[in-house]
């Protein structure tokens, strides 16, 4: 069978997942639906737990504050390479033995690097919980970084980087971040560049792990078939041997640069890719929730957003268009993307700019505000229907410094946003000018295939 599945509104925007914390769609569950326990182990490790015995599995998510911003100068990609190696052998187990132990029990263990964090996740059938936590302990406390594994992973990442050099969506995104945050660690690619990746030594990886993998900067959540008393000692077993304090380099707070600029990159592809964005609003800013609502109305991914309606539904210019608020530890941005034919690129970019300007000037309507609030209030549970999604959100809330009562507070925070707030914040969020990156055939160059009949 043709395994090709098509969806009618897949968001290319998922490409930003690395930088994009789970868009919080609360959890104000009907009474008793889900209880979050804050569990502290004898060794002092805190975890947010949802005990859910209905399915015999356990999902654990965790994050170490650190991430690619802690890459040493000239060695961008260190965090990413380090994370890719954590499940490639640890303790007495080389990479073959380690992966064999995981596979024998169908245990899933993943690590990744984001700009601000090293993320990890573990999924296991509860009957294999002992083995899973043992292997996780080895991975985080005694990774081997054997030379052969380092070289293989380095070669695999280099292959990804080579591919990115001719991928329009990767180029658009890399150029956007590079321009917006030039001179700041956020401007460096998380994967590194061929030059910086080649410069990373095994010692760099070990040093990075030692500095960043610690207990004081660790956030953990567990969801599934395990109770608090069982979990507590396991937490110490897994993480107890890590150093208490990390050794993190200070990172400056920063705002995106290059607003008002459009950067065109020439690439011979049938469809031109466009990224656009500007400053966002910090997670802790009192205006955050208003901004979140305004952004939902603009292009937050639902099919009634202004961008989706104006650019796709009314004019058929694109297949997908959306934008998101992205909050990092040291910056906040609003960033979106779309893609269209070369000869309609200017029209599309202009239209997006116009819609953003219109919302900045006039704000949303009362009706849009009510609809957005309804949507954001009731969509919360939908995004929390799997253990992994809940676990991921619980880690994000901890990273964001929000309490475990956030689920109760969130509807109140949404309700408190008035139309005046929304109008004021629309102006604040959307009136800064945009940095736009455009990757495709230059204007005026004929496409190699005959253009379809328009309208």
């Amino acid at each position: 069978m043709n395994a090709f599945t098509l969806t009618s509104s897949t968001l290319r925007h998922l490409a930003y997942a690395l930088a994009l914390p789970l868009l919080v769609t609360a959890f104000a569950a009907p009474a008793g639906a889900t209880t979050i326990e804050r569990v502290v182990s004898p060794g002092g490790i805190e975890v947010w737990l949802v005990h859910e015995p209905a399915v015999p599995l356990i999902a654990m998510d965790f994050a170490f504050i650190g991430g690619a911003v802690q890459d040493p100068p000239g060695k961008a990609g260190t965090a990413n390479l380090m994370a890719s190696l954590l499940d490639e052998g640890a303790g007495d187990l080389d990479s073959k033995a380690f992966s064999d132990r995981l596979e024998r029990r169908a245990i899933e263990m993943n690590f990744s690097a984001e700009r601000d964090h090293i993320r990890g996740s573990l999924r296991t059938l509860s009957e294999n919980c002992d083995e899973a936590f043992d292997l996780l302990r080895l991975a985080v406390t005694s990774p081997r970084f054997d030379a052969s594994d380092v070289e293989l992973n380095r070669a695999q990442i280099l292959s990804v980087l080579r591919r990115q050099t001719t991928s329009p969506s990767d180029i658009a995104s890399l150029r956007w971040w590079q321009t917006a945050f030039e001179g700041h660690p956020y401007g460096r690619p998380v994967n590194g560049t061929p030059e910086t990746l080649q410069a990373i030594t095994v010692d760099d990886l070990k040093t990075y792990a030692h500095k960043v993998l610690a207990r004081a900067n660790l956030k953990v959540s567990v969801v599934g078939d395990i109770d608090a008393e069982t979990l507590k000692p396991l937490l110490d077993r897994v993480f107890g041997a890590l150093p208490k304090e990390p050794d993190l380099a200070p990172v400056d707070n920063v705002t995106p640069q290059g607003l008002g600029r459009r950067i065109d990159v020439s690439l011979d592809v049938p469809q031109t890719v466009v990224d656009f964005g500007g400053p966002g609003i910090a997670r802790k800013d009192p205006d955050f929730m208003a901004a979140y609502i305004v952004n939902h109305i603009l292009g937050g991914g639902a099919s009634d957003s202004r961008l989706y309606q104006e650019v796709r539904e009314k004019r058929g210019l694109v297949y997908s268009v959306s934008d998101s608020l992205v909050w990092l530890d040291h910056a906040a941005v609003m960033i979106g993307g779309t893609a269209t034919r070369a000869d309609r690129t200017n029209e599309t970019v202009d239209l997006i700019q116009r819609e953003i300007h219109r919302l900045a000037e006039n704000g949303p309507t009362e009706e849009e505000l009510i609809e957005a609030k309804n949507y954001l209030n009731s969509s919360f549970a939908l995004n929390l229907d799997t253990s992994s999604k809940i676990a991921s959100l619980l880690v994000q809330l901890q990273l964001d410094g929000l309490g475990s009562d956030y689920f109760v507070k969130r509807p109140e925070m949404i309700a408190a946003v008035t139309l005046d707030d929304a109008k004021r914040v629309a102006k604040r969020l959307l009136d800064n000018g945009l940095l736009v990156t455009v990757v495709g055939r230059p204007q005026g160059v004929a496409a190699s295939t005959a253009p379809p009949t328009a309208h």
Binding site: F4, P56, S99, D100, R104, K314, S388
Partner: protein, 452 residues
């Protein structure tokens, strides 16, 4: 270390361990048919107050008339344009107003639509979806912009992506006669000519309650669903006879095919080979399950044959793997692939793949490998229980391709029963070059020796 382990062990679950027979495909699934022929499957999951509501039409790209490729998928897009009763975007607005999510998908064999909504809105969704089975209204004013949207989608998914273009060419070469050789999204010059009338003809021909399956997973009981279905879906009249799905069959395939796609943007060459195999629906008993296990042994995970041999031991590839997806009405494919290290030719990597395949054909698989693959496959069924949408898709895709609820439920047991002998048998029978296509993704067309 071990002492510590024993002291603070995990609590074992009660009865439902992964190895417990029958437990792995989830909760009590109900399955019934309405008088108009619509089949309804209910998969209870009471962990969150949410339901996933899906309708699967037994029609896909392989059912299109030649010359109208892309029509099934285009109609999928147009199904969001409103009905007489719920004009325009009323359905989508309703979903947005209650915080729901929706989407749709098309494959060669089926077209599906789904919503994820708070449980109390299920009946509303059933009513709206029932209305959409026969009530679609289309005007050129909505059809024409949507055609442009689909053409942009084709650019994004295929034209902009050399790997996807190779994949289209490989399908076209693998299937000599069966319509699986056509891309689901369609050939661009045929998509451009699709019209409102094409879409409505196709709609009237295939969208009917007796040609669909509804799958509802989530915080509901079969009794509630039955009652709601009587008031919604049961009122939709039968529009067409449910015709047997007869597509042209493949002739005896006698010649291995190769396809090379060159694009200056290719920075990482690769080789992929796909073998024509039976699907779960057409396979002899045990055969599809053996192919599942075979694909796992060959190419899932760091200890699979292909990865271990090509990437780790011989160090000639950066990635290598295998796949088999048996959920299809007529045929399935077993695929193997690798990307060479810089400086290694595609030919060398392909020879490496062939050596691995020949070894499995000649020597079979070890018990150890067999156990590891089966454990992983069976565990997938337990992991699926954590995601109601995954479970719903599992049942829906099976039923839309000629399987039954019982077949889905018994799948873990059938995997458990696969023997090493059956895996070797499957390798011998189906890893036959004459029924295969090999695709090369390269930067430029030049003599094989200098490719890297």
């Amino acid at each position: 270390m071990r002492a510590a382990t024993l002291a603070v062990g995990c609590v074992l679950p009660l009865a439902i361990a992964a190895n417990g027979a029958g437990a792995a495909t989830g909760p009590d699934v109900a399955d019934f048919k309405l008088a108009n022929g619509l089949e309804i499957v209910v998969v209870p999951d009471h962990r969150a107050p949410v339901v996933t509501h899906m309708i699967w039409y037994k029609v896909g790209a392989a059912d299109e008339t030649p010359g109208k490729s892309g029509l099934a998928h285009f109609l999928e897009h147009l199904m969001f344009k409103g009905t007489q009763k719920n004009p325009g975007a009323a359905f989508s607005q309703d979903i947005a107003a209650i915080g729901g999510q929706e989407n749709a998908f098309t494959t060669s064999d089926y077209t599906g639509f789904y919503q994820r909504v708070p449980r109390e809105h299920l009946k509303e969704m059933m009513a709206l979806e029932a209305d959409r089975i026969t009530g679609l209204v289309l005007t050129d004013a909505v059809v024409k912009p949507e055609l442009n949207v689909v053409l942009e989608e084709q650019y994004m998914r295929v034209a902009n992506n050399p790997g996807a273009r190779l994949s289209e060419q490989m399908d076209a070469a693998l299937y000599l006669n069966h319509p699986y050789g056509r891309p689901v999204i369609g050939w661009r010059q045929e998509i451009e000519k699709l019209t409102r009338d094409d879409a409505l003809d196709f709609y009237r021909r295939f969208y009917s309650p007796n040609n669909a399956v509804v799958v509802i997973a989530g915080d509901v009981t079969p009794d509630e669903v039955k009652a709601d279905a009587e008031e919604t879906y049961a009122k939709v009249p039968v529009r067409t006879a449910a015709n047997p799905r007869q597509r042209p069959k493949e002739p005896v395939q006698e010649a291995p095919r190769t396809v090379t796609l060159a694009d200056s943007r290719v920075e990482q060459p690769s080789v992929t080979r796909e073998y024509l195999t039976p699907s779960e629906t057409t396979a002899k008993p045990g055969e599809s399950e053996a192919l599942d296990v075979l694909a796992h042994v060959l190419g899932h995970g760091a200890n699979s044959r292909l990865y271990r041999t090509l990437v780790v031991d011989k160090s000639i590839a950066l990635t290598a793997g295998a796949y088999y997806s048996g959920t299809a009405l007529d045929y399935a494919k077993l695929g193997v692939y690798a990307t060479p290290k810089p400086g290694v030719t595609l030919r060398e990597v392909e020879q490496g793949i062939d050596a691995v395949l020949n070894d499995v054909i000649a020597q079979g698989v070890a018990d150890d490998e067999l156990d590891r693959a089966k454990t992983r496959l069976i565990a997938d069924a337990v992991y699926a229980q954590d995601n109601q949408a995954t479970l719903a898709r599992w049942y829906g895709s099976a039923l839309a391709t000629g399987q039954t609820v019982d077949m889905v439920r018994s799948w873990p047991d059938r995997i458990r029963a696969v023997t090493a002998q059956a895996v070797q048998q499957a390798a011998r029978a189906w890893l036959d070059r004459r029924r295969s296509v090999t695709g090369y993704l390269v930067k430029s067309l030049q003599p094989e020796e200098s490719r890297s």
